[in-house]
């Protein structure tokens, strides 16, 4: 049996069947054994009783994208599985474990030519006091992946520690029965041994990573209004901000949340809120206020399917336009996008630093795929980006809040500072912050707010630029991992490609983009939108020096490395 560098498993069930718990603990087991991994959840909107699937990819190398097809698919039941449609693909190499009493096999299995092995998980669970079919599934998957019973059981034992010995016993018994049931099955795939590494390793979600990056960057106040799929950021911050002397306030709506963080930041405390598309729509007016009054704030948008309520539980990149162009008037601000679960730490920290340094709002475009995936990764490195705002502490003479300076940034007086009193204003204002409707002040302050962004040296973090081939894949956000993998697959075919994925979307950096694209002959733009928002954005702001093709598709279907690879390969 050949060893594979990557292996993928999907466990499917009705909501409440425990499919997600099962996959989460498999990830923990694999991570403890030294593999890298990514666990993505996909589900319907129901709290209980809908469809749920845990998608797991384990590998020797870092994992940042989903596979084209799953190697192993376990249906605890298939009752609502048809709702996933094409989201979870099986192929003729896929091994499907199915409970004969779990409902009809869905088309995604029957049309794939996959090998199906029937195991009566429900019946087996019934024979165990308090037994649950998902523990049988965990045992089956554990055995097929080559773990021991002890390895597969360890994360469950930890989870159930406070549930008492009966629950622990029932789970262990279920896992053992699953192991027995899988004994005779030839999986046909084996995961190559993990790389020995001394690095400290972490297991966390993109939303948790975002929250940690915020605190690392200096955020000490958050305002919270719950929304799928961003809430976990706020839930992680609630206890942890307190531990570092910070505060979280639950807001009555997103309008309040954004204004609360503006108030906190005006008072000198770096501040953040997290939301999704509908919430960002409500926050746009106040984002313009923060731009005009030069108040640093950070807003994380964990994107979901849109427009309107859209698909709250599934991923899409459709908020690019509103993040870039949403505000009325000319309102230069920062827009950034993390590129992986681990990069959520860095990008959020960097965004906080930039917002504070430039006294401007920063919008971070994460998405459901990254935000709600859990990854086993190496600990993201510590970086030196800690928000340091230019503060006016000794003030003599009239205080000029919006004074013209060489870099466009004016030292900010923090309430309590004698002589620094001013009124922050969304009205067009003079250097002294006093309201005016004059053309000269209007132009001067518009120039200032543009120039402070344009004159800043963002350094090499602005993008991931990898490879030097004459075909460039330009993408962004959570698609970066799939694009990177596609470029590697193309290289294996002898096609030399490069990847350019901007982490900084606004302001745009035309010179850096030109350097990144120097010498390209073909440009493939890849994005998860229906309208090709990223392509239009690139064409509006950058001179793309070669013919362009666009591979765009809306969510919730994930765009895989294999698909990008094929799009590269057919364009010779």
């Amino acid at each position: 049996m050949a060893a594979s560098r990557s292996i993928s498993i999907a466990i499917i069930g009705s909501g409440g069947a425990g499919a997600l718990t099962t996959v989460d603990s498999l990830l923990e087991t694999a991570a403890a054994a030294g593999w890298q991994g990514l666990f993505t959840r996909t589900m319907g909107p129901q709290i209980r009783g809908g469809e749920a699937a845990g998608l797991l990819r384990l590998a020797v190398d870092p994992v940042e994208s989903l596979p084209d097809r799953f190697d192993l698919m376990i249906g605890i039941d298939w009752l609502n599985a048809h709702r996933f449609g094409a989201e979870i693909k099986a192929g003729n190499q896929t091994l499907v474990i199915s409970d004969p009493r779990g409902g009809d096999l869905p088309p995604m299995v029957t049309q794939s030519g996959a090998r199906v092995v029937e195991i009566p998980m429900k019946e087996m669970a019934k024979a165990i006091p308090d037994g649950r079919p998902n523990m049988i599934a965990l045992g089956i998957a554990g055995r097929l992946l080559g773990f021991t019973v002890e390895q597969a059981f360890a994360p469950i034992a930890k989870r159930l520690a406070d549930k008492g010995p009966a629950a622990i016993e029932a789970s262990l018994a279920g896992i053992k029965v699953g192991f027995g049931a899988a004994a005779g099955i030839d999986f046909g795939v084996q995961l190559a041994a993990p790389k020995p590494s001394k690095a400290r390793r972490w297991l966390l979600s993109g939303n948790e990573a975002t929250a940690l990056g915020a605190i690392r960057g200096g955020i000490r106040f958050a305002a919270a209004y719950p929304i799928t799929p961003a809430t976990e950021i706020l839930e992680w911050l609630a206890p942890n901000l307190t531990k570092v002397g910070g505060t979280l306030l639950q807001a009555e709506d997103e309008l309040a949340a954004i204004n609360m963080i503006i108030g906190a930041s005006y008072g000198g405390t770096p501040a953040l809120t997290a939301t999704s598309g509908p919430g960002l729509s409500l926050m746009i007016e106040a984002l313009g206020l923060a731009t005009s009054a030069e108040i640093p704030i950070v807003v994380v948008d964990v994107m979901r399917g849109g427009p309107s309520t859209g698909i709250p539980t599934k991923s899409e990149q459709g908020d690019l336009n509103i993040a870039i162009y949403g505000m009325h008037g000319d309102a230069p601000h920062l827009v950034l996008a993390p590129q992986s679960v681990g990069d959520c730490v860095f990008t959020t920290q960097w965004a906080t630093y930039l917002a504070e340094a430039l006294q401007a709002p920063a919008i971070i475009l994460s998405d459901q795929f990254m935000g709600q995936s859990r990854a086993a990764i190496e600990r993201p490195a510590d970086v030196a980006f800690i928000g340091a705002r230019s503060i006016a502490s000794e003030i003599s003479g009239p205080y000029m809040r919006h004074a013209m300076t060489a870099n466009g940034v004016s030292p900010m007086a923090i309430p309590g500072t004698r002589g620094g009193q001013y009124t922050a204003d969304g009205l067009t204002h003079s250097e002294r912050a006093t309201p005016t409707s004059g053309a000269a002040d209007h132009l001067a302050q518009l120039d200032k707010r543009r120039d402070k962004l344009d004159r800043f040296n963002f350094g090499d973090h602005w993008a991931s630029v990898e490879g030097a081939g004459d075909l460039a894949v330009i993408t962004w956000g959570s698609l970066t991992g799939a694009a990177r993998e596609a470029v590697a697959l193309a290289a294996a075919d002898g096609i030399d490609a490069r990847m350019v994925a901007p982490r900084l979307l606004a302001p745009v950096l035309p010179e850096r983009m030109a350097a990144a694209l120097a010498g390209v002959k073909r440009i493939l733009v890849v994005e998860q939108t229906h309208g090709g928002q990223f392509n239009k954005f690139l064409r509006a702001h950058y001179d793309l020096p070669a013919p362009v093709r666009v591979f765009n598709r809306p969510g919730p279907l994930p765009i895989t490395a294999g698909e990008i690879h094929r799009a590269i390969a057919v364009w010779r």
Binding site: V244, G245, E252, A271, A286, G288
Partner: protein
């Protein structure tokens, strides 16, 4: 409190108000200065937060820190400021459109949240800055271009709503009596928790009829109470012109506990360690 003696003039900026001559808000500005001086508050320790409308222009006319934000959201902005800077005196200024219409939801939640701040609504029963449209407190029969023949909609009762929502101090003042308004404002600032003062402040341009308010207002014929039941009856049967402190509650203000500030951030990372 500072030992420096402050005068009303110490709280006034050199920015010239855009208000119409005779506007009630000039008197409110005077009351602000008098109350702050009475309390001996250093101007740099005060933050005056507002939204949009004639009354919301007030921060820039003071010599305090100020924030003239977006329409209707001043209470939220002030909440973020006060919980992170409990050392500051936070006064929020609004009007009947900004505070009761577009900002109505924040009003409810500011009352129930009970953060230690003072909310002053200059109520003139009209949208003045947009030139005379009906507000939530406009009388149903009042004729405007936007509501020919009147709105035929029952006016909002801010004091009752404040009480029901949990405000910890409720008063009504008349702008034409700046000394009394200053006294009530000083009491409101001193009182812990969320204090709400409705100031009847006539719009001489779009509501010239409100010039008669000076003859209609009268001291509330009751003493202060901390009994919510009593206050509810009082406010529900109120003629709209009772002036004075109408309710003084005993709720503990909301202030999140300040955690340690010297923690090594690697402590937080333990959640994620394998």
């Amino acid at each position: 409190m500072s030992s420096v003696a402050y005068k009303q003039a110490d709280y006034k900026s050199d920015v010239k108000p855009i208000w119409c001559p005779g506007c009630g808000d000039y008197h409110v500005l005077m009351s602000f200065g008098r109350a702050f001086a009475q309390l001996g508050l250093p101007p740099e320790q005060i933050a005056v937060i507002s939204g949009i409308g004639c009354s919301s222009r007030i921060p820039a006319y003071t010599n305090c820190y100020g924030f003239h934000g977006v329409h209707g959201r001043s209470l939220a902005l002030a909440a973020g400021l006060k919980v992170t800077r409990p050392d500051l005196t936070v006064v929020v200024a609004s009007g009947d459109g900004d505070g009761y219409s577009i900002g109505g939801n924040h009003f409810l939640h500011a009352c129930r949240r009970n953060i230690d701040m003072t909310y002053v609504v200059m109520d003139n029963h009209i949208y003045g800055m947009t030139k005379g449209q009906p507000s939530p407190t406009t009388e149903p029969e009042f004729d405007t271009a936007l509501s020919p023949g009147g709105t035929r909609v029952r006016p909002f009762h801010p004091l009752v709503v404040a009480l029901a929502s949990g405000a910890n101090f409720i008063a009504r003042c008349f702008s034409g009596d700046p000394n009394q308004t200053a006294d009530v404002l000083a009491e409101a600032i001193k009182h812990p928790g969320f204090s709400f003062i409705e100031i009847l402040s006539p719009c001489v341009t779009f509501r010239p009829d409100e010039k008669a308010w000076k003859d209609q207002v009268h001291p509330a014929p009751v003493t202060e109470t901390s009994d919510q039941g009593k206050a509810a009856r009082r406010l529900m049967t109120d003629d709209g012109f009772n002036i004075g402190i109408l309710y003084r509650g005993t709720r503990t203000p909301y202030q999140p506990a300040a955690g340690a500030t010297n923690i090594d951030l690697s402590e937080l990372e333990k959640d994620f360690e394998l």
